[in-house]
């Protein structure tokens, strides 16, 4: 009975992601026509490398937004994790890269748990909590760094090489980003706990009544988002080599934009990590296409904002149309 409905919804969702892919292709084609060098291997590699950090954070944010929450603290978590890992490597240059990555993930996950615990036990909206921790975490990073920055020559060469090294010709950063997106997307779609997150986002009260451990899932969702931001911090340090307490300032806007543009509903309950990843790719492409197209770099943030509005507006219109059609069909039966 529900098969036609759910398949239609699935079609609508797929169309939504197709829409962003088309926008991305159109942007790349236009930019490549203006300047064919935009499609050169090096330029494309730089583009995807730059997108990797945003993609990782967007995958984590997807998990939180699906539950009808939001995590605005991700930029600050990135900064704190990047500085922590940088300091660790400066103090102990012999630390293996794997350990550095794990340290970043653990720090991020712990900060995410703080967010999750405040949301769960404080019974307060995630927006306010993470707006607060955005400033708290950033302030802690500043207090810790005390105006110092860690330069590339203070980091071990092995770690910096990790930022550019490749496996089978593919940079590590891209491999990691792809793994994060695929694992997140798979768990969300195929695993029971993932499905429960969607149920929570669609209707928190119904999810509770259905026996879903809403509190524990909320904690887990924020921990995942924090861990992704922590991992992004390590990638940031490896890629740029220079880390100060301001690393990742304002990233939360881009992450939220990527997720929303990628078709994850801000009211929770729908969207995929793949869509969010494409959204992140689109935003990064816009960023590097602007100078090629001869548009002032200052436009970038305005475009991000306009895209957020466009995306939520489109989603609303599509949802309204689907709902109207469903109502019409059910009344005909």
């Amino acid at each position: 009975m529900s098969t036609p409905t759910s398949s239609r919804v699935a079609v609508a969702l797929r169309a939504r992601e197709l829409g962003i892919v088309l926008a991305l292709v159109a942007l790349v084609v236009v930019t490549a026509v203006v300047n064919p060098l935009f499609l050169s291997g090096q330029s494309l590699r730089d583009l995807v490398l730059a997108a990797a950090i945003l993609v990782v954070m967007a995958a984590g944010q997807t998990v939180v937004v699906i539950t009808r929450n939001i995590d605005l603290s991700v930029g600050s978590v990135l900064g704190l994790s990047a500085y922590a890992v940088g300091s660790l490597l400066e103090a102990a240059p012999g630390t293996p890269v794997v350990v550095a990555v794990l340290v970043g993930i653990v720090i991020g996950g712990a900060l995410g748990l703080v967010n999750g615990a405040l949301v769960r036990f404080g019974n307060v909206p995630a927006l306010v909590v993470t707006l607060g921790t955005l400033y708290v975490f950033r302030g802690v990073a500043f207090l810790w760094a005390g105006g110092q920055q860690i330069n590339a020559d203070e980091l071990p060469g092995g770690f910096l090489a990790f930022g550019t090294a490749t496996v089978l010709g593919v940079p590590w950063l891209i491999v990691i980003a792809a793994v994060v997106v695929i694992v997140t997307g798979y768990v969300l779609r195929n695993h029971r706990s993932g499905r429960e997150l969607y149920a929570m986002g669609s209707d928190p009260a119904a999810a509770r009544l259905a026996g879903i451990p809403v509190g524990r899932r909320t904690l887990a969702a924020f921990a995942v988002s924090g861990a992704c931001a922590g991992l992004a911090g390590v990638l940031f340090a490896a890629r740029f080599g220079t880390v100060d307490a301001a690393a990742g300032t304002g990233y939360e806007l881009n992450v939220v934009a990527a997720v929303v543009v990628g078709g994850v509903a801000v009211f929770g309950g729908s969207g995929t990590a793949y869509g969010a990843a494409i959204g992140a790719l689109l935003l990064t492409t816009i960023g590097s296409a602007l100078p090629v197209l001869g548009i002032d770099q200052f436009w970038q943030q305005a475009i991000v904002g306009a895209l957020i509005l466009l995306a939520i507006g489109t989603d609303r219109a599509v949802a309204a149309r689907v709902a109207a059609r469903l109502r019409k069909e059910s009344s005909r039966v």
């Binding site: 307060v124 707006l131 400033y135 302030g139 305005a302 957020i308």
Partner: protein, 350 residues
């Protein structure tokens, strides 16, 4: 009702007590805190936060939020700088900025009430959009040398009272009267308590909310004008992150983030407490970064505290109610004859 009133005065009184206590302690401990000069600095510091907190309180009371205010402030400042740079006179520029702010607020209002989108998502979008436009307008330039008569008035004082106190006081009284002494104000609380109930009682929810956002935009733009004049510097990044301080102050003042509860007097207390804490810490040579931590923590505490108090209160009430054994379940009361079970067509059609 009287119970509700008691709770309002309870929170207001608590904030006021904390404020007085803090001022006394800081006056004793922090040198230079309790001076007239410092007090007028504090007024200058809290002016933009208080200004924006007034319409923000009304918006949060209806259960919505506006995160774009700081970006509206920045865009207003940037436009002011660009126009002044272009040789326009300040008497023309200021009204233009205020109208611009109203338009920016109307854009928020249109997306939220016209298209039915969540205010959180819309204003995160316009937070980025308006700040981005500010950079488009002014780039990373700074425009200075605004007319001295204006800049001096903003930072000046007469008879020991800063000039800014008067417009702030007038606006505070206007917003306070509207919120607490008019049917419009009551309707805002009704909306915050439940949109459907408000709609059924004939309140024009969408239209009211739309105009709230317009007013909020205009006031944020006014704050941008004052900000520019105070520092005599128009920059695209003016007021970045100020939305945090505004939301923190409003919630600290006892306004419920879920809507339906709060008073403007409590918000005044919240704004002053926040300003006093920041001012005292700054005088005590605490870095700006540590201030960020304090503001963030205050924001979290101010949303946690009412919930914690509520949880404790209901726990106490439950324990008090426990001693008498639970009364046998009363038989369900038959519906009074007078109430018509089927809604009237007029109600159904709305």
């Amino acid at each position: 009702m009287s119970d509700l009133m008691k709770r309002f005065t309870g929170w207001d009184a608590a904030i006021l007590a904390v404020l007085v206590l803090f001022v006394i302690v800081a006056g004793l401990v922090v040198p230079d805190f309790a001076t007239g000069r410092n007090a007028s600095f504090m007024v200058l510091d809290l002016a933009p936060v208080l200004l924006i907190a007034l319409p923000m309180t009304l918006i949060i009371v209806t259960g919505e939020i506006d995160l774009s205010v700081a970006s509206t402030l920045g865009l207003s400042s940037a436009v002011m700088g660009a126009l002044w740079d272009g040789g326009m006179s300040i008497e023309v520029i200021i009204p233009i900025c205020l109208v611009l702010g109203a338009v920016l607020g109307a854009v928020n209002g249109l997306f939220i009430t016209g298209f039915g989108l969540p205010s959180l998502a819309v204003t995160i979008g316009t937070l980025a959009l308006y700040r981005g436009l500010a950079f488009v307008v002014l780039g990373d330039r700074a425009v200075a040398q605004f007319p001295g008569s204006y800049t001096e008035w903003v930072i000046g004082s007469s008879a020991g009272i800063p000039n800014l106190v008067w417009p702030l006081l007038v606006l505070l009284l206007v917003f306070g009267t509207v919120l607490h002494a008019t049917p419009l104000g009551r309707s805002l609380f009704t909306m915050g308590a439940g949109v459907d109930a408000a709609r059924f009682s004939g309140i024009r929810v969408a239209r009211t909310k739309f105009w709230l956002y317009v007013v909020c935009g205009a006031v944020a733009a006014l704050a941008g004008v004052l900000w520019t004049l105070r520092y005599s510097s128009a920059r695209a990044d003016n007021g970045t992150g100020l939305e945090l301080a505004v939301v923190a102050a409003v919630l600290l003042g006892g306004v419920s983030i879920f809507g339906g509860r709060g008073t403007l007097w409590g918000v005044l207390g919240g704004v002053m407490l926040l300003a006093a804490v920041q001012n005292a810490l700054r005088l005590a040579d605490v870095s700006n970064e540590a201030l960020q931590v304090v503001t963030g923590l205050l924001l979290i505490v101010s949303v946690l505290a009412p919930n914690a108090v509520g949880a404790i209160r209901s726990a106490v009430a439950r324990r008090r109610r426990r001693p008498p054994p639970p009364a046998p379940a009363a038989p369900p009361e038959p519906l009074p004859v007078s109430s018509d079970p089927s809604p009237s067509p007029a109600v159904r059609s709305s």
